[in-house]
């Protein structure tokens, strides 16, 4: 895999009156060309800060970063012409129309009016912007505006596209559209680096992802590997506890080689196994043979939230809500 983004021990500290905030504390990543790489983490984890260092917007305190083989700190100009960036805020001109925004953006990247106009037209069709392209951005809905933001980031066909929470404010249908579009970009060779709070987005869209918390990487890998390395799948068994069936089942099951961990909760047994779908038949056969009556059985795969929980002891769903530092 050819690395198109690579960083070593990237760090960033902000100084405020109330002391220093270590926003990014030693991030080392490698992103391959043509990957969709996700950055998952709670509010204040340091996702935006990392992205802003990689896109030349923020000076790097220490460590190094290259994008498309170019050193970000030493040659920011060359980096800029190869990347696209859609910030968390968007940043379209409110008093201009969508089309005007796109054309200006394309021309700032050096395109001539004719080619930029036709490129803008194409993008507006692909991203379904046409209908409101000639209205002022001020009048757009949140989702319409987000689509324009994305179009602004790719008007110059960048090699690497950085998306900071691209799907915030999109309804499920438009989110799915955006995912399709991101995949289409990848299939044309663009590398995509995105941040998200959405577990589903990280899971479904990203080829590989990194989970970040308090400025540090807590886990990295494909969504599948990450979920696997946590706990495997979990199987929940409900038994009719007659004549010590529960205790007997417990003993029997824990002796099975594929069971990693077993907990009891009332008349329920929860066991963690390497691969749930492979373990289930054996488990059923065992219980049948021993005539232990089953009320119900369910198999659940771990989510990325379990991964986060496992790594940090907190759930992603409630992490970050108690950070006192406000984002700039």
């Amino acid at each position: 895999m050819e690395a198109i983004i690579s960083t070593t021990d990237l760090r960033k500290q902000f100084h405020s009156r109330r002391g220093a905030v270590e926003a990014v504390r030693g991030v080392s990543i490698e992103v391959g060309r043509g990957e969709i790489f996700g950055f998952l983490g709670p509010n204040g984890a340091g996702k935006t800060t990392t992205l802003r260092m990689l896109t030349t917007l923020l000076p790097i305190d220490s460590g190094s970063a290259t994008v498309a083989g170019i050193d970000v700190a030493r040659r920011p100009k060359q980096v800029r012409s190869r990347i696209g960036y859609v910030s968390q805020l968007g940043g379209a001109d409110e008093l201009a129309t969508g089309r005007e925004n796109l054309i200006l953006q394309g021309r700032l990247y050096g395109g001539d009016l004719a080619s930029v106009s036709s490129r803008a037209q194409l993008l507006m069709e692909i991203l379904d912007i046409n209908e409101f392209a000639d209205r002022r951005v001020k009048t757009y809905s949140g989702g319409q505006r987000r689509r324009l933001d994305v179009a602004l980031g790719i008007v110059h066909e960048p090699e690497v596209l950085f998306l900071d929470e691209p799907s915030t404010g999109l309804d499920p249908q438009n989110r799915a559209h955006l995912w399709d579009h991101v995949r289409a970009l990848r299939s044309r060779g663009t590398t995509i680096f995105l941040t998200t709070h959405y577990l589903e987005e990280a899971d479904v869209l990203c080829d590989r992802l990194m989970i970040m918390d308090h400025g540090q990487i807590v886990a990295e890998g494909t969504p599948r590997d990450l979920k696997r390395q946590v706990s495997g799948d979990s199987v929940l068994l409900s038994l009719h506890d007659e004549g010590g069936a529960l205790a007997r089942a417990r003993l029997l099951i824990s002796a099975e080689p594929y069971v990693r961990e077993l907990t009891t909760d009332g008349d329920q047994l929860r066991l963690y196994v390497e691969d749930g779908s492979a373990a289930l038949p054996g488990l059923l056969r065992l219980l049948d043979r021993e005539r232990i009556a089953l009320k119900s059985i369910s198999l659940s795969e771990p989510t990325l939230d379990d991964v986060f929980l496992h790594q940090t002891g907190r759930s992603l769903r409630d992490a970050g809500t108690n950070t006192t530092e406000s984002a700039a």
Binding site: T55, L57, Y85, L89, D93, E100, Y109, R136
Partner: protein, 253 residues
């Protein structure tokens, strides 16, 4: 070359934004006209007691208004910078390969052009009520006011980039506004004031701009105020634009 092109693009963008903001346009046109309409009649009454012949009132007052307009249009530039910072517009421009100098100067030039339009209206009205135009002096005055407005605009934009939020920015700008205006003799010549005011005024760039404006409005090129005005404003303008471009390059925006 690229800087020129980028400057042109951003100039165009900013001009469109202003033309699409009716409130801004209204205030831009009405405030100088209000000054003329509401202040000149009063001056006409006090003029004789101050030893100014009443026909000369506009000669003193109009250059003052024009300098005030240039100063105000420049120093208020940072408010839109703050807004654009918060909306992410500046960040979007800063990720593009566009020249940093162009990102700064495009809007400033656009502001200068709008100012020229407002000024032309004011001068035309003044001519209607008896102001005598000295064309060459007026042309030199335009250059001088351009320097003043560009200098203040660059200062204000850079201050906005450094402070990044409206409260501290507004505090700094308002804090500077009043002393600079009061010690410049904008509405009445500072020579009417006591010695300490006249001394302090010499540390105020706006004072030089106002003095030079008064001389230029009457076409008195030989007056020392004229070369002094340019000698203060031109280098200061270059210096501040240089600083502001650096801030743009580095800004933690």
């Amino acid at each position: 070359m690229k800087t020129f092109r980028d400057t042109g693009l951003l100039f165009h963008r900013y001009t469109l934004q202003m033309l699409r903001n009716p409130v801004w346009l209204f205030v831009g046109f009405s405030s100088p006209i209000l000054y003329l309409a509401l202040f000149t009649p009063m001056l006409k009454h006090v003029a004789p007691t101050l030893g100014v012949r009443s026909g000369g009132v506009l000669e003193i007052f109009l250059p003052g208004i024009l300098a005030l307009l240039a100063f105000a249009s420049g120093i208020s530039m940072g408010f839109s910078t703050i807004f654009e910072l918060q909306a992410g517009v500046i960040e979007r421009f800063r990720v593009t390969p566009a020249s940093r100098f162009a990102i700064l100067i495009g809007p400033i030039l656009s502001g200068l052009m709008m100012m020229a339009v407002f000024d032309a209206v004011v001068v035309a009205i003044a001519v209607g009520v008896g102001f005598q135009v000295h064309w060459l002096g007026l042309a030199a005055l335009a250059v001088l006011l351009g320097l003043l407005a560009a200098l203040m605009a660059a200062f204000s934009t850079a201050t906005a980039l450094v402070t990044r939020e409206i409260n501290s920015f507004a505090a700094i700008i308002n804090g500077l506004n009043l002393p600079i205006l009061l010690l410049a003799g904008v509405l009445l010549p500072i020579s009417f004031g006591p010695v300490w005011m006249r001394v302090l005024a010499h540390f105020n760039p706006l004072y030089y701009a106002v003095q030079a404006s008064r001389a230029l409005a009457t076409g008195t090129f030989g007056a020392p105020a004229v070369w002094q005005g340019f000698a203060v404003l031109a280098p200061l303008c270059a210096l501040i634009i240089f600083w502001a471009t650096r801030v743009f390059r580095k800004a933690v925006a």
